[in-house]
Amino acid sequence: MAKPTTVRIPDELLNEIDQFAQELELDRSAYLIQVLQKGFSVDKQERLLLKYVRGELSQMEVCRKLNWTPWEFLSRLKEKNLYLNVTLEDWQDSAQLVQ
């Protein structure tokens, strides 16, 4: 169920949104909901991936929070031009294989 909320938006931004919604004949309220959903999704990904890169979240913790499979994780990193959070020090400390 949708709930009402109040947000203070700068005049300039609100005017721009209103003008754009009118030009495209979009319902202002429905359009704002779409923008919020899209923006939240992108921002959530960016913030969680930043925490991953910093080593504050593990790969599977990110997958769980973003509802990704571990198999798609690598392609998502590629899309964002990010690398695994394994450091050069980890590579140097990685143990030799014992047979």
Binding site: R64, D90, V98
Partner: protein, 176 residues
């Protein structure tokens, strides 16, 4: 045969660089049940061919699933279930080597004194142990950079190690 415990990040990268079967031939690879569900659930097997490969290896016993006795044991570093179970399993089995490609899991392993191996190192080591050719090792390393999203610094170091191993062998042959 030596044993190693693997988490999801490592199994996925080994599969992506075509080495998971080779590693299973050389090591008894053990995974906790949470890792099996993370990488090879029925849905994932339908969607990803490499998940299907891992599922087959589990069915054939080439990858052994083993439960953790103390799965609820608290860790000072938070991890997801599969990463945590893999780490605890490595400890329970006498601090076995943990194959992982996750920075946070590595941090936890280091803190608990568990030896860890990242996939580029596994590739270099397989070459050192003469289990894969130089060509295969370089191709796998390059795939780890391209598909596996390993940083260029680590892949550069890995390729350098492979070249040094190759030249070292060539020098040794010259000496004899």
């Amino acid at each position: 045969m030596s044993q190693m415990v693997a988490d999801s990040s490592s199994l996925i990268l080994l599969a992506r660089c075509n080495l998971v079967e080779r590693v299973c031939d050389l090591f008894e690879v053990i995974v906790p049940p949470a890792v099996t569900s993370e990488v090879a659930s029925q849905r994932l097997v339908r969607e990803y061919s490499d998940a299907s490969l891992i599922s087959d290896l589990i069915s054939k016993g080439a990858i052994r699933t083993q439960s953790v006795a103390r799965a609820g044991f608290p860790l000072s570093i938070s991890l997801d279930q599969g990463e945590k179970e893999a780490l605890l399993l490595a400890i329970e089995l006498g601090k076995l080597q943990l194959a992982t490609d996750d920075g946070k899991a590595i941090k936890a392993a280091r803190f608990l004194g568990v030896p860890f191996a990242i996939t580029p190192k596994i590739v270099v080591e397989l070459h050192r142990l003469q289990r894969i050719s130089f060509k295969m090792a370089t191709e796998s390393s390059e795939m780890l950079g391209r598909i596996g999203r390993y940083s260029p610094e680590i892949i550069g170091d890995a390729l350098l190690s492979l070249v040094e191993q190759k030249n070292g062998k060539a020098d040794n042959r010259k000496d004899t």
